[in-house]
Structures are given as structure tokens and as C-alpha cells.
Amino acid sequence: KRKIFMESFEKVDKDIRYIFSTMTDNLGSAWLEVEDTDNIFESGLSLMIQFPNKPARESTSLSGGEKTIAAITFLLALQSLRSSPYYLFDEVDAHLDAQNTERLLKILIEKSKVSQMIIVTLKDMIASHANLVYGVYAKNGVSNIIKYKSNIEVTV
């Protein structure tokens, strides 16, 4: 049981390192740590995150926007264990500034080659890089859908 867990742990840890350094152009780093290797199943896993020019911190003491990036990194790294055919993300970019929105975009585009990404967003920066964009609007309380081809400037 311990052996299987540690093998999975290594896989996810490796993917966390890869994803976060891809997002930060190799300027930042992230990794997963077992709190107590003697008691794996009684202790926890720390997600350590180091943004460029900042000290490394456990993900729960990051800022709101930084936590979003940490959470995305963790979720997508789990793919190395269990790859979902699709992801539904509803405005996960809400608390991100321009730089972190770009980092999110980078990893979404890369991971969308493996799994389909269905992303609800209000940000042009994200929508304009999609393969396909759907606009939704309400008329008399009923939702309607209109399809845009990708890379069209979408104003929200």
C-alpha cells in the first residue's frame, strides 16, 4: 500500500513541478511534500509554492490570486494519475491579475491537447485564445446561444 502510494505521489509531484515552472517560465517552482514519511497515512501532503522573486510558502498562506494558480496546478497534476476526458471550469480566473491570467492561459492551452477544456470566462484574454467561443445571452428571461469562430475579439 505504501509503495503504491509513493509511486503515485512521485508522479503527481513531478507533474506539479512541470506545470508550475511552465506557467512561470521556469522562474518559479512548486512541489509536493509528505509531512511525515514514517506515518504517511496519518499525516498530510503539503503543496509548496515559490512564485518568482518570493520565498517558498505552503499554498494555504498564499494570496487569493496565488491560491488560484496553486489550485489549478494541483488539479491538472492529478491528471497524471487519472486523466479526465474533460474539465469544466467556471470563472476560475476571477481573482487573477493580467500576469497570472496569462500563466493560466498558457497551461490551459497546453493541457487542452490532452483533455477537453470547457471554460466559462468574462475575460477577453482567455476567450480570444480558445478554439471555439460560445456567447450566451438572455432575452425575456430565456437563454440563447450564439457561436463565434475562435480568435475573434469577444466583448463581454
Binding site: I4, F5, S8, F9, E35, S43, G44, L45, T60, G64, K67, T68, A70, A71, F74, L75, L78, L81, R82, S83, S84, P85, Y86, Y87, L88, D90, E91, V92, A94, L108, I109, S112, K113, S115, Q116, M117, I118, I119, V120, L122, A127, H129, A130, N131, L132, V133, Y134, G135, V136, Y137, A138, N140, G141, V142, S143, N144, I145, K147, V154, V156
Partner: protein, 165 residues
């Protein structure tokens, strides 16, 4: 395997006309003003694939899923279909496309269809489980919930890994 079509009828803000969304592989975006119906599309996908908890569908009770604009139409059913491109046969069904349809009458239990054939709900959930396509909190992050993922404590993170293995 990816979602290539979603059809929504009578579900939440989608009225009693069939709305069709054709999707492709890669990155798909849904955008539009507040209250236009974006999150309802994601709810519709989760609903069709078996999600049954009112809280996860963001309603107080399942009856509130019926489009409420016109009361006498209440007797119409809700119908949502999700079609997967299954040319890689990740879903263990021998067909290039797999359509899962959920129909909910106003006063009865939901009925599920697999490529048009009436099947039990557990048939659907078994197929989705094998293909890792069952909606859950790791592949369906609802509005405002990304912060909660980041605030998981270290024990919860370990349990997530244990559950997957």
C-alpha cells in the same frame, strides 16, 4: 474521447425549445453577461451525466430545475443530452459517438437513454466511471469554488490521492 454536442431543453434558464451547442477538442470558451446562462450550461452537462444533488445543481430542490418562465408549461419534461466523440473507444461502447440523454418528468423519476435506448442510471454511471468521465469536484470546478480547492488542508490532499489510487 471528448464532448462534441450538448442539447438542452427546459432546463433552468433554457426555455422549452431545444438549444444545441456543438463542441470540439481543445479549449472551448463560454462567455456572456451576468445572468445570461453560462453556469447553467455546465449544470446541464453535470445533470445529464447523472448529477442528482440539488446543491451541486445550485437549486433548493430538483423541481426548481424546470424552466419557470411559463407555469402552464410545467407539464413538459426537461431533456438534456451530452454526446461524446468515442472514436478512441475510451467509453466501453462499440460506437463512434455515445449520446447520454436524461429526461426528467415534472412528477416522476428521471429516465436515461444511451444512444436512444432506454437504460438504467447505473449503466450510465458505470460507463462514465470506466472512462473517468463522471463529473466530480476535480474535473468540474463551479463558480467561486477554486479558492476552496486551494484551501484544502494537507490531510484532505492526501485523501484525494488515496481515493484516486
Amino acid at each position: 474521447v471528448h464532448i462534441k454536442k450538448v442539447e438542452i431543453y427546459g432546463f433552468k434558464s433554457f426555455g422549452f425549445t431545444n438549444k444545441v451547442i456543438n463542441l470540439e477538442k481543445g479549449m472551448m470558451c463560454i462567455t456572456g453577461p451576468n445572468g445570461s446562462g453560462k453556469s447553467n450550461i455546465l449544470d446541464a452537462i453535470a445533470f445529464a451525466l447523472g448529477e442528482n444533488s440539488p446543491k451541486s445543481l445550485r437549486v433548493d430542490k430538483l423541481h426548481s430545475l424546470f424552466h419557470d418562465d411559463n407555469n402552464e408549461q410545467k407539464r413538459k419534461n426537461i431533456r438534456v443530452s451530452v454526446t461524446f466523440d468515442n472514436s478512441d473507444r475510451v467509453i466501453p461502447v462499440d460506437a463512434n459517438s455515445v449520446t447520454i440523454t436524461r429526461e426528467m418528468p415534472f412528477d416522476g423519476d428521471s429516465i436515461y437513454y444511451l444512444n436512444g435506448k432506454h437504460v438504467s442510471k447505473s449503466t450510465i454511471t458505470d460507463l462514465l466511471d470506466v472512462a473517468l468521465a463522471t463529473p466530480n469536484r476535480l474535473n468540474n470546478v463551479q463558480q467561486g469554488m477554486i479558492m476552496r480547492i486551494a484551501e484544502l488542508n494537507s490531510e484532505e490532499r492526501r485523501k484525494i490521492l488515496e481515493d484516486i489510487i
